[in-house]
Amino acid sequence: MGCIMIFSGSEAAAKPRKLLMKGAEAIGEAAIRAGAKAYFCYPITPQTEVAEYLARRMPEVGGVFLQGESELAVANMLFGAAATGARVFTSTSSPGFSLMAEAMSYIAGAELPVVFINVMRCGPGLGGVLAAQSDYWQATRNSGHGDYRCPVLAPSSVQEAAELTLAAFELADRYRNPVIVLADGMIGQMMEPVMLEGLAAGEPVEKPWATQGCGGREPVVVKSLYLDPQVLERMNRRLAEKYAKMQTDEVQVELYNVRERHDLVVVAYGTMARICKTAIDRLGKEGLQVGLVRPITLFPFPVDAVHSAARHSAAGVVTVELSQGQMIDDVNLALGELGRSAFFGRSGGMVPTPDEVTRVFRDLVKRGAA
């Protein structure tokens, strides 16, 4: 399988053109273009293709590829590698992400830039390997212990998976914070044309905190232990300011068919949002105006976009997810005085088809009109 689509770096450099790539491979290639120096991993479906791709590509660009003994170890290797100031990342899927939660907390506490790619599968527990969006809470609140948050970027196409992977490295460096790219299994497995041209690291960020040997300066310590409560609270406040700044500066959202007035407003992200778009197009032909608010950043959540689109919607808002309802909490927070969102979700690896979603939307519009 896959004797075509073998993508080599030299080929990519030759001329700008779209390449047919799996989401998992596009993520790996985008990370290299972002200047990632090290990738640590542990195999888990449905994103092992990232590891397989980078096992070949990292040595080509002089980077580090290492398969660790567990996700636990991998995430801690990331701490060590990031502490040297290098751009580093991993990719995993839900159960593996849970194992990384310990280190994520330390990484957030020590304020290290690390990119985590979570290609979600369905849970809880071992669950299944098919596509789901059931790690929304885990990613957007915090996966590990303590008072911290991470930007969460949710791609809905292979191209966007590449672009957001690059963006994640930039955000991580700028905020000295872990950043999560949260994709569903379909994004990881799907092949689509990708334009890699133009994907390049931004201006390097100074990292005076990096442990690179103390030659010519005082030693530095990268740590998260603060036993003095006053010192720790100061630290907590500073972190909170950082997260607040993310909420004002880093929101990304796509509005699709959002107008002055709607019959219905949909909030959905990732692949699920694309299925909703097809349903919206079909309903448009029936004369129904359905708008879509697609959060690209799940944290910070596009509160204003949701609230503003929802203001003039005859049938209100419906949140659509590949879960039994997680993002709906953020949608309801955003709606505030406007009321509560309806919900439609499938889970366990079941993905609704455009037909199914179209029916749901049509019914909601009818009910809203009644």
């Binding site: 004797c3 075509i4 047919l20 479906t45 449905p46 098919l130 799907m190 092949m191 044309p193 088809t353």
Partner: protein
């Protein structure tokens, strides 16, 4: 708006994902938007596998499809599972070497490809999936034989010895589809095969007539 969706399904190891990839690559080379979505998971291990390829002139919203334009059934379970889903007036490629029944639907253009026997005649049974791909190229309104041919050439860059028989297999499959299109046209069943008129894939081949290859 031209758009076409194909589901290719069969046992793992029959090359269904590869057929889909080559179709997708050809569509990309032709400047179309494209998505290729595989089934994945435990069913890959010796069970059934399928992929959905969407080709469009516009950005693709849902990569998941309820009613594909065409289905390629490489085995009986795939035919049973997907025959009912094909859009009215769409097409069905049945791998007759592995499927012991014909189509039940009468509103579809059906091409029965005895791929294993044909490939054997061509001298390499491994080329069976290229015969199916050729038939698919003949039926597709959005991707022509020339583009598929280039995708196959690229795919076998590292295996030049296998290329020749695979190209012949591709053309044999394509020719078979042409025959079926003409026959269906004579019966008046070819309608709905493509959105822009013409008798089938060959007429829409932006690189010129597929006949030039014969």
């Amino acid at each position: 708006m031209s758009r076409e969706e194909v589901v290719i399904a069969g046992f793992g190891g029959q090359g269904v994902l590869l057929i889909g990839k080559l179709l997708a690559q050809a569509a990309l080379d032709a400047g179309r938007e494209v998505s290729w979505l595989p089934s994945y998971g435990p069913e890959m291990r010796g069970g059934t596998a399928n992929c959905t390829v969407v080709v469009s002139d516009d950005p693709i919203a849902s990569p998941i499809v309820d009613h594909p334009r065409g289905v390629v059934a490489m085995n009986r379970p795939s035919l049973d599972k997907f025959e009912g889903s094909v859009e009215a007036g769409g097409f069905l490629v049945i791998n007759g070497s592995m499927v012991d029944r014909g189509a039940e639907r009468t509103d579809l253009l059906v091409v029965n490809v005895r791929s294993l026997e044909m490939a054997q005649e061509l001298g390499n049974v491994k080329a069976a999936n290229m015969i199916v791909l050729g038939a698919l190229a003949g039926l597709s309104a959005l991707v022509g034989l020339q583009q598929i041919r280039r995708a196959v050439e690229h795919a076998f860059e590292q295996k030049p010895r296998a290329l020749e028989v695979n190209l012949r297999a591709l053309e044999a499959g394509h020719a078979l589809a042409q025959v079926e299109i003409v026959r269906a046209g004579a019966k008046g069943r070819g309608k709905g095969l493509d959105g822009s008129g013409g008798a089938g894939g060959a007429g829409n081949d932006s690189d010129g007539s597929a006949c030039g290859l014969h």
